[in-house]
Amino acid sequence: MSIPVRKYDAVIVGAGGAGLRAAIQLSEAGLKTAVLSKVFPTRSHTVAAQGGVSASLGNSEQDHWHWHMYDTVKGSDWLGDQDAIEFMCRKAPEVVVELEHFGMPFDRTDEGKIYQRPFGGHMSNFGEKPVRRACAAADRTGHAMLHALYQRNVRAQTQFFVEWMALDLIRDEEGQVLGVIALEMETGEVVAFHAKATIFATGGAGRIFYSSTNAFINTGDGLGMAARAGIQLEDMEFWQFHPTGVAGAGVLITEGVRGEGGILRNSAGERFMERYAPNAKDLASRDVVSRAMVTEINEGRGCGPNKDFVTLDITHLPPETIMKRLPGIREISIQFAGIDPIKAPIPVVPTCHYQMGGIPTNYKGQVINDTGATVTGFYAAGECACASVHGANRLGTNSLLDLLVFGKSSGDTVIEDMASMPKAHKELPANFADKTLARLARLENQTNGSSVNDTRLAMQRTMQNHCGVFRFKDKLEEGVQKILEIEKQVAITEIKDKSKVWNTARVEALELDNLIEVAKATMICANARKESRGAHVRDDAPDTPEMPNGRNDKEWHKHTLWQRDGNKLSYKPVNMTPLSVETIALKTRSY
C-alpha cells in the first residue's frame, strides 16, 4: 500500500530548542527544510527550563571554557565523552552570543553585558570556587530562548508542520535513513517525508515514570522510532531526579523553598536530613537528599496512608515570608496537593526530571550505529540524543547549552554531508511504509485488547517502584520481568474511537508504543549496571574506601548500548581524548 510522499532536503522532528536551532542553520543555508511538531513550536517543553544557559563569557569574573569542561566531566561522573564535552564548552560563548543577536532578552549588568549568576557545580580554576557562568532571562530562560529561535526561523522561512506526529523512520537495506513517516492529526492522513537528512530533536521521555516533572508531551517519540528502526539507545539507566516534586502530581517545588528554611520531615515529624547530612541538612545536594527521602520511605517512615511520601514543612515560616519570598508555592501546594503550606506540610517525593541517555551521536550530531560507524542521513540533538556530554549526571544549565550547541552542529554537519551526496534523493525502498501501516491497522482492528491509560499507568508505576532514584538488586530484577509483561499489553492496546480526524486516542496509543521502548531500555540497562555512578545509585554498590561512592571504574567505566531486538546489551568505551587539551583523568567525584 502506498502513501503520499513529500520531498525535502531535510526533515527535523521536534520544534523545541534543538530542533529550532538546527532548522535555522538549514533554512539559512537555503535547504528546503520541514520541521514536524506535535504542538505549536513555542509550546515545546524547552519553555519549562528556568535556570539558565551556561557559557564561560567571563562577564562577571574570570572564567574559561576549560574550567567549564572540567565541571561537566566531573558532573558526568567521568562517563561523559571528553571530545564532545570540550566541543560543547568551547562553543558555549559563541552560541550564547549568537542567541543574543537573535534577540534573546538576557538579563544584563549595569554595563550592558549579559548578567551571569552562580549555579550548582559551576566552579573556577578546576573545581576551586564557585563561578558566575549561568546566563538567564529572569525565570523564563527556556521560554525566551524558544521565542528568539522561532522568530529567527520565521525570518528564514522554515516550513513548520504543526500538530503532526512522526511515526517511524524510513531506512533502506543499507541502513541509510531516508526520512520519516508522519501522521497529520487534523486529517488523520499518513504521509512520508522523503529527505536526504533527518534530524531528531524530539526531547526526553520523562513520562515513563509515575512521578515526573516533565510535561505530558515528553513521550520519547524519537527514541521509540530509533529503537524500532534498529538503532541502539545509549546509557538509558541514567535519569536525573529532583528531590521535591509534589507527591502524585510531579509538579516541582523549587529548591528555593529549602533555601528559605523549608525542612523535610518523616512520618514521626523528624527532621531526618540531620542524620544523613549533619552539616548541609536539607540543603545537601540533590542526589543526597533524594536518597535520604527514599530510605525514609523504604524503612517505613513515609507519610500518608500508604507511607509513600515525606513532607516539606514551611509552617514555621511567617506567612508574609512565604508569600513574598516564595511566590506561587502556596498556590501550587493548594492546587496540586490540596495543602495550604502555611498550615500544613507539603507532601513530596523525588521526581524524574531529565534523561541523560538517548540516541548515540558524535559531537557533530551524526547518529552512530552498532559498529561505531555513522548512520548515513540520520542526526540527533538535544535531550533525545546522547553525545554524550551529560554522562551519568547532568550539570545544571548544560541542558539549554546542549540544545544550542548540538542543534547548531547537527545542522552544520547536514550541510557538510549534503555537499557530498548525490543531488537526487535516493529512491525509497518498496513497501517502506508497510510496518507503520501494519502498526496502525493493528490498533484499528484490535478487539478485547488493553486500555492505553491503564497500561501506561502500570508502566509508570513499575518504573517508579523498581527503577527510581535509589535502586535495589531484587527490585530491578523483578522490574525487568514486570516491564516485559507490560510490553505484551502495549502490543494489544485497543482504542474505542476509530475516527480518522483528530483522533487523540490513537495518538496516545502511538505515544505509548514509544514510551515502552524507553522503559524497557531503562530497566534493562539499570539492572545490568552493577555499580553506582552519577544518578544511577544501587543499594548493593555502596560507598566503600575501595570504591568511593560505589563507583567501579575497572568494570563499569563504559557506555551501555541497548538493542531492541532481543533486548541485547553491549558496551563501548568512554571517549577520554579531548579535541585539544589533556585528558581529565578519573577521580572520585565529591563536592
Binding site: 504542538v39 513555542t42 521560554h143 500538530e163 510535561a215 502524585g248 502530581a249 493548594i334 474511537d497 483528530w502
Partner: protein, 86 residues
C-alpha cells in the same frame, strides 16, 4: 461541541509546555467544561490557546486577569485542585 473540536481542544489542553497546565486544563476540560455556558466554553478555548507563560501566572494567582469575561473562567481554573493518589 463536536467530537473533532473537543478532541483538538483536549490535545491543546494536555500537550502543553508546562506540566502544571497539562494537569489543570486536562482535569478542567474533563470535569467542568461540559457544564459551562457556550460563551464560557469559547472563553476557555481562547485561554487554552494562550502561551504557557502568559496563562500560568493567571491560573496560579501571581498575576490578575484584566479581561472581565476571562477572569470568571480563570477564577474557576484557580479553584481547580489536581490530586492523584501517590
Amino acid at each position: 461541541m463536536e467530537r473533532e473540536a473537543l478532541n483538538r481542544l483536549q490535545w491543546r489542553c494536555t500537550r502543553r509546555a508546562l506540566l502544571e497546565l497539562d494537569l489543570i486544563l486536562g482535569k478542567f476540560l474533563a470535569e467542568e467544561f461540559p457544564g459551562l455556558s457556550e460563551d464560557d466554553k469559547q472563553v476557555f478555548a481562547v485561554l487554552a490557546d494562550m502561551e504557557d507563560h502568559d496563562l500560568w501566572p493567571l491560573v496560579n494567582g501571581t498575576e490578575e486577569c484584566e479581561d472581565a469575561r476571562q477572569a470568571a473562567v480563570v477564577a474557576m481554573l484557580r479553584k481547580s485542585e489536581v490530586r492523584r493518589p501517590q
